[in-house]
Amino acid sequence: MTPTAPPTVEDALALGLTAAEYELVCERQGAPPNVLELAMYSLLWSEHCAYKHSKKLLRTLPTEGPHVVMGPGENAGAVDVGSDLACAFKVESHNHPSAVEPFQGAATGVGGILRDIFAIGARPIAVLDSLRFGEPLGQGATRTRYLLDGAVAGIGHYGNSIGVPTVGGEVYFEGPYEHNCLVNAMALGLAERERLVRSAAAGEGNVLVLFGAATGRDGIGGASVLASAELTDGGGEDGAGLDSKRPTVQVGDPFEEKKLLECSLELLARELLVSLQDLGAAGLTSAAAEMASKGEVGIEIDVARVPLREPGMEPFEVMVSESQERMLCVVEPANVEDVLALCEKWEVGGAVIGTVTDSGLVRVRDGERLVGEMPVRALVDDCPLYDLQPRKPDAPIYPPPAPSSALSAGASASETLLALLASPNLASRRPLFEQYDAIVQSRTVRRPEQADAAVLALPDGGALAVSIDCNGRRVAADPYTGTVAAVLECAANLACVGAQALGTTNNLNFGNPEKPHIAWQLTESVRGLGDACRALDAPIVGGNVSLYNEGATGPIYPTPVIGMVGRLPDARRAGRLGFARAGDRIALVGPFAPSLDAGELAKLLGHSLPDGLAAIDVVAVADAQDAVREAVRAGRLSSAHDVAEGGLAVALAECCLAGGLGAEVELGEGTVAGATVDLFGEGAGGFLVSGDADAVGELGESAALIGLGTVGGEVLRIATPGAGEILSVTLAELGHASAALGLLFG
């Protein structure tokens, strides 16, 4: 498509619209759209902006609850955290940009989610990230390490430079993510509850001010061409063919965003704005149309007044550019001068680019010339929504993983534990999180590896707890139960620091929803998400959907990343995961029913994914979480840690490593379902706690509890009544195994 030739249906197809959608655009416009109009429709009607394959499903999710201050539909959701404060939070993906250019893709992912937070008037206080890559060893390792290194450096570059701590996150390495990595970033912000702002444009005659960075040709077509299609590379080795998509990736400048952040918050604090919206995917097109739609008004923009980074940009390029670090606000005419003066103080560009009208149209001018005119409703609301055609696949979608060479046949329990601890999914994340500033802003009560959830102090003496989690392999084995497990895992992490969930965000990372088996994964997963969040009273306040995550080698594991924010009443009593005191009793709490199915050991052994997982008794698990949470809040326990990947033995090892103390454990008769399952089986609802005998005994009155042994020494030793000692590993050996990820960053 050249800017001068009238576009055709072929141009529409190239921009990602279907022929039927193009017809509908023509009908709504009353004529075939011109170049600029077609460009704007193609973006706003893309999967990324219109959620056309997921919106119907998302409507089934619970979004209301006593703590919800702002639900889905705004730039971020928000929950009441007490003392008239609200916590805004959201997770977003930047998967395809990161697969093409990991450093900038990840960096701008962080930049984008931070803008969502301060766009509603909250000061960003924390970032977490959820990453998925292919295997870092063996075939495909070169690409995996390149992506991992770039993404981690990019996240650090942005968060560290802007002064927002990166307090937590997760990373998994699995073959299905090799081609299409996942980079999801979550951010939290704090605001006075009454001062949260919405993005709806209002007030005919009010002025649109664009402020922040100048607009350039970067990120053109990011939302449609890159984010809403499968990631095909034309067959280059190591994704080299993806280079052709590099121009669709934006470039981030954290210093510019730091100024933009401070400027935005000061503009809001001085009550100079009617509304505020960040420019993300689809740039000015999306920001203007969304603001007009929410305010049920019209908007007129003069692209000639937009400050440009380079001359000669076409009007459509100005409207669709995804240049970073920009915000759009609505200002009453009397305040424009003050707004621009404040922009000058913070050294961010500010320009009046248009007005709010009562026309119900988005009208784009280039100086005197009208270059595009579209009904707001047609742009934002009239994109057709599609019903999915879910069908459970008859045969497995994913090949079995290659067996790990780290685990020889007939390995002892000790050797198996060390192999698990050294495996990429379980090894210590220290080499990654040490690249992030976790403490700036002086709120971080629990840093990475100190507790199951990050804990951030609140001014009233309480604290926020936050966790992000999803085991995609489990979701692949059973989309419903796997998603329920991911939600429970997040809530368990919160319970271990003493926090109760207030709200949930999610990023649904899936393959191509037009394929029946992916549609089935998505449908089942959303059903699990809704059921689990309802059961835990942890409503969904916002989120994001990232579809078409597949390439030539097939789809990713379905990965509904869950982010959960909770509150605990006393920051000083936030739980820790490490054993703290020799002589403390160790106990396993909760309805833990371990199984090797879809677990880490099964992966190391090269087992295929099972067809379905055992159902989870959500109510029983939630009850156990309640009991653990109360015990932590009472300050009675020395440590609390949920049993997750790698099962009980790995959880024990993690408690030992975090506390620098060994443990003597005896698995009682009641737990014997075969030592391997007892040691390494996984399942929801298991918690490992330690404390003095009274504290542990008390907890046993409110939850199922099995005494396991005693903290102390420098060895983790596990015995059974029948077989005697079955596992014995020193702290030094545990530490050495767990440090395996350091080799990737040599």
Binding site: G163, P254, K259, S442, R443, R572
Partner: protein, 225 residues
């Protein structure tokens, strides 16, 4: 006494420094474009990325109007504490000898570190004792302290090597494990670790950093007699 904490557009730790200083005295932010130091008895040049640090860490910040005032203030004997990016700025401004190079591990690294007090007679360490260990976090990409050997020997003789990384803690590769240095006169001090982040057990991993702020208070009030 009163601390003035500089604020550049890309400062990140200025509010943390302000709060830390406010635990021992009055404290106020000073905008980079202002020349008035607002009657401060001591100046903190905080961490962050002053103007984005795209040229070289601290290279632009030294030319800020507020820094011009800080340079005169230091020449008159005023106490100036530079933390992380602030240390880089003070080196760029030639208020401190040496330079900060990219970390030996070539990565941004955040770690809680053990530091050793080498000289406890400075205005910044007088609440400590020589040989004392302080637990203070560090987080930076450009923290490898470098000066030529002759300069280092002279600094050592003059007691300008104030803080050292304890054995095994020097991840950035600083020469002689140097974590913090002062000028010859002893009134300007810079360090890479962040004492303002170690003022509260709850969030700082320790409260050892408070001793540096407390030292400044003692020095200022002692000088007033």
């Amino acid at each position: 006494m009163k601390f003035g904490v500089l604020r550049f557009p890309g400062s990140c730790d200025e509010v943390d420094a302000l709060r830390a200083a406010a635990r021992v005295g009055d404290a106020e932010l000073i905008w980079h474009g202002e020349r008035d130091l607002k009657g401060a008895d001591a100046i903190v040049v905080p961490g962050g990325f002053s103007y984005g640090d795209y040229l070289r860490a601290g290279a632009i910040a030294r030319f800020a109007p507020a820094m011009e005032s800080v340079i005169s203030f230091a020449r008159d004997g005023g106490l100036v504490l530079g933390i992380c990016n602030g240390f880089q700025v003070l080196c760029e401004a030639r208020l401190l000898p040496g330079a900060l190079l990219v970390n030996a591990n070539r990565r941004f690294t955040f770690r809680q570190l053990e530091l050793e007090v080498v000289n406890a007679r400075t205005p910044f360490t007088r609440a400590c004792v020589a040989g004392e260990r302080l637990s203070i976090p560090a987080k930076h990409s450009w923290g490898r302290y470098y000066a030529d050997e002759r300069t280092l020997a002279a600094m050592d003789d003059a007691g300008q090597l104030v803080l050292r990384y304890a054995p095994g803690e020097n991840f950035n590769g600083s020469l002689h494990d140097i974590a913090g240095v002062c000028n010859e006169r002893g009134n300007v001090f810079g360090l890479m670790p962040h004492p303002e982040h170690a003022v509260d057990e709850l969030t700082g991993g320790s409260a050892d950093g408070l001793k540096l702020f407390e030292s400044i208070r003692l020095a200022v009030e002692g000088a007033r007699g």
